[in-house]
Symmetry: C2
Subunit: 158 residues, 2 copies
């Protein structure tokens, strides 16, 4: 099992994408600033997200990324899977051959745990997260901090 900043960044970026406009695509530079994630790293992550068809891209000036479908049909587990290749906690990738081809003592435990985690993350959509009170207020704060920092008078709060 791996759940590190890679997966966290991916979910954070997708959430930022969900929050900021359904009309115009969002550039990685914007996400990078708001979420304090390195631009180059974001590019790497979005390459995977695009391959998994969670986002679509628009090139050229004014371009950026868009969710490929409605935010209530994109689940956290899918985002993590896209960048992190599964939340499997078994050692054998579910095959049951840990101990020289044979199943090990604790296989069933890890198998069960994996299912538990997966169903938890698969029950939460991006839309669910956006609806949370704390997420709303943090997003608000991030936008305000950025306006102060940039002094850019683009008041277009979608």
């Amino acid at each position: 099992m791996r759940l590190t900043t890679k997966g966290r960044y991916a979910v954070t970026a997708m959430l930022d994408l969900t929050i900021h406009c359904d009309d115009k695509p969002v550039s990685l530079a914007d996400i990078s600033q708001r979420q304090s994630i390195s631009l180059s790293y974001l590019e790497q992550l979005f390459s995977r997200l695009r391959q998994s068809e969670l986002v679509t891209s628009v090139r050229g000036p004014g371009g950026g990324y868009r969710l490929s479908r409605s935010s209530d049909s994109i689940y956290i587990a899918q985002v993590i899977d896209a960048v992190n290749e599964s939340v499997d906690t078994t050692n054998c990738k579910g095959k049951g051959d840990c101990q020289g081809g044979e199943i090990c003592l604790t296989h069933s435990l890890w198998d069960q745990l994996s299912q538990e985690i997966h169903s938890f993350l698969n029950a939460i959509s991006l839309a669910d997260l956006v609806a949370r009170r704390d997420v709303k207020s943090i997003a608000q704060r991030q936008v305000e901090q950025l306006l102060i920092l940039n002094e850019s008078p683009q008041a277009g709060a979608c």
Copy 2:
């Protein structure tokens, strides 16, 4: 979050300890053979398990390790915590200061997931695992394989 072979080995070894006798202490050499885990690595793990007071040690010939208390009051989460320092999935160790001292967008999600995993692993005791049908039969297989391999006529199946 980290859940790697370190945690898995620890749980496996503790389970082996639970299965093999409540009367005489179990040596690491035995566990090493049955579970195919390097002896030196086991020593390292048991050092942590002993510090967390999950096992007690007996030195000298015939010595080994014993569970420090009844197997139905040792939970998987405790074993993993002992070697793996928590199954926390947040980036901030629960402090909420990911983003330059401020809380990040996804903190509450990871916090919730951590609690989910912890309560799952904290609801399963070593005794619960031993009672499982698959665990019983795998343990049986391991003992038989070892007898064939060693030709040691210690028929003392506790």
